[in-house]
């Protein structure tokens, strides 16, 4: 009985040790990678039949949130929640492609930048397929920006939420 179990146990133990070594080394590598990359775009969260994309543009020391339509859409409202972790967002500037938001605030308590765009024009904000607009510009330091799950883009006429892709942005220095 003892002889029969000896080698299987040894085999399982060796497999567990190898797996542990592999996992630990992989984790160590990713930490090093994050620490060295200034602007990292994480893998996009894929949503089926997406209608638009939120992307970050980081150039000339300024971070701009872009919104691009994947197909022709008309938008009645955008409830935009940008989360930030680790550092802080100091200013948010509404860029001219959207009307002035009905509500705008940097909530330090909840680490969120909140903007509610309500578009009164009967036909909403029309975007052609492939059209890209600038939404907001942020300044801050050493933080990770992400589109919070509460964000929603509402379609004109149907009052339905349009699915979208989004990306995160890591800022390792002050903007």
């Amino acid at each position: 009985m003892k002889n029969k179990l000896f080698w299987p146990i040894v085999l399982v133990a060796v497999v567990v040790i190898i797996e542990s070594v592999l996992l630990l080394s992989a984790r160590k590598q990713s930490v090093v990678k994050e620490a060295t990359v200034v602007n990292t775009v994480t893998a996009p969260v894929v949503v089926e039949q997406k209608a638009l994309d939120f992307t970050w543009l980081n150039e000339a020391g300024k971070v701009t949130l872009m919104m691009k339509a994947d197909r022709a859409i008309a938008v009645d409202a955008i409830d935009l929640y940008v989360g930030y972790q680790g550092g802080e967002v100091t200013t948010v500037t509404n860029l001219g492609d959207l009307p002035k938001p009905s509500f705008q605030k940097i909530s330090k308590e909840k680490s969120l930048v909140v903007l509610n765009y309500l578009i009164s024009a009967p036909e909403g904000l029309k975007l052609a397929a492939g059209q890209e607009i600038k939404v907001i510009q942020l300044t801050g330091k050493e933080t990770q920006l992400s589109i919070d799950p509460k964000t929603q883009v509402v379609e004109n006429g149907t009052a339905k939420v349009l699915p979208f892709n989004n990306q995160n942005l890591v800022i390792n220095s002050a903007l």
Partner: protein, 386 residues
């Protein structure tokens, strides 16, 4: 000559006396007193039985005797102090019989200590083809506020009916030949005999103006009470009365908290049909109560249980839709804005007393004012949350 003067003097004196006599008499100077007859009655005629807190609904019905079509009914209704009538939205015209104008309701007129009269007037702006000879002119919604019994009578002298007279543009009066009222009995129900706490409350809806709220009629509330680790939900709670306090429409009621056993440190959550749920925890609350629990005290007796006034912190309108196909989600956001906007673009309208989910100010039409109200609500709530 002298005889002639005497005769003339006598004639003049006689004419003067005759003139004075005529002036003293009440003369009917109308071309015709009436051109038709009608019966005016309150239905149902059978005794109506309700509980305190219920809405007691009656119809004011006419039936002309000579085929005359009715375009206006003024009824002076007299009733006991078991009932009250909301002067803002207590009556609704019967649009199917042509009574499409807002019903006018006078301030209550006290008659002695136990009777009140209210004059209600329903009129039509429709052509004769849309009028009828027998129908309900209006629905009157009394609130049962006190146990007891009595009658709802029509005071014939204070009532009037007019109609379309094809033979005269001026003679429109239809004579009321008889009137008939009804009787009622209001049970105290749980209020008198129950062992449950009573919540006496006054609430208001933000951005609803008392003088332009013809469609704020029987808006149902959801009331949740919480205290001592116990909670209870009461749905479709209809306030028993409404009154204008300045420009604010104040709705009030007395809710028997059946099955709820807490009498102190109670918090109340009240939600209107198109409103966010509001937490009320103190008397005369004027803003958010950002603490756990509440400080309300209740008793079993509606007469001694405090009347909590929450009107200084009115219910915030705007929760009309949600992400799952129009189901309200407890938030005010872009989905609600888009939902209201769609209705506002087509100016969706209902008759007095009707209901439109997007009609946030209760004026029977969805328009840009409702969109502005929604924006205000969103700003208010986001400001509280963030």
């Amino acid at each position: 000559m002298k005889k002639t003067k005497i005769l003339l003097s006598i004639l003049l004196v006689a004419a003067l006396v005759g003139a004075l006599a005529l002036v003293k008499n009440n003369q009917n100077l109308e071309k015709g007193a009436s051109f038709a007859n009608t019966v005016l009655s309150v239905l149902p005629s059978d005794k109506i039985t309700k509980n305190v807190g219920d809405v007691l609904t009656v119809q004011v019905v006419f039936q002309t005797e000579s085929g005359a079509k009715v375009d206006g009914v003024q009824a002076k209704l007299c009733y006991g102090n078991e009932l009250s009538l909301n002067t803002v939205n207590g009556a609704v015209g019967n649009t199917s019989a042509g009574f499409n104008s807002d019903v006018i309701i006078s301030d209550p007129i006290a008659v002695g200590t136990s009777q009140t009269c209210s004059v209600v007037v329903a009129t039509s702006q429709k052509s004769a083809t849309n009028l009828t000879t027998a129908a309900s002119a209006m629905t009157v919604n009394f609130s049962a506020v006190k146990a007891g019994s009595g009658g709802i009578a029509i005071d014939e002298a204070g009532s009037m009916v007019t109609g379309d007279n094809s033979t005269s543009a001026t003679d429109k009066t239809i004579a009321i030949t008889s009137v008939a009222g009804t009787t009622y009995e209001i049970d105290g129900g749980n209020v008198v005999t129950g062992n449950d706490p009573i919540l006496n409350y006054k609430v208001a809806y933000a951005n609803v103006k008392a003088n332009d709220a013809a469609c704020v009629v029987n808006w149902p509330l959801q009331v949740i009470v919480l205290g001592g680790g116990e909670s209870k939900v009461y749905s479709n709670v209809i306030p028993s009365s409404a009154a204008a306090m300045g420009n604010t429409l104040v709705e009030s009621g007395s809710l028997v908290l059946t099955g709820f056993g807490q009498y102190s440190n109670v918090a109340v959550f009240i939600k209107g049909p198109k409103h966010l749920q509001m937490k009320y925890a103190i008397q005369n609350q004027s803003g958010p109560y950002n603490q756990a629990g509440g400080e309300l005290t209740l008793t079993k007796d509606p007469a001694t249980s405090p009347i909590y006034d929450f009107t200084a912190y009115p219910m915030i309108p705007g929760d009309v839709s949600g992400s799952s196909d129009g189901v309200q989600d407890g938030w005010i956001d872009g989905i609600d804005f888009s939902y209201v906007k769609t209705s506002a673009l087509t100016h969706d309208t209902v008759a007095t007393g009707g209901y439109l989910k997007s009609d946030l100010d209760g004026n029977c039409q969805v328009n840009t004012n409702d969109l502005n109200i929604l924006k205000i609500s969103l700003q208010t709530k986001q400001g509280q949350l963030y």
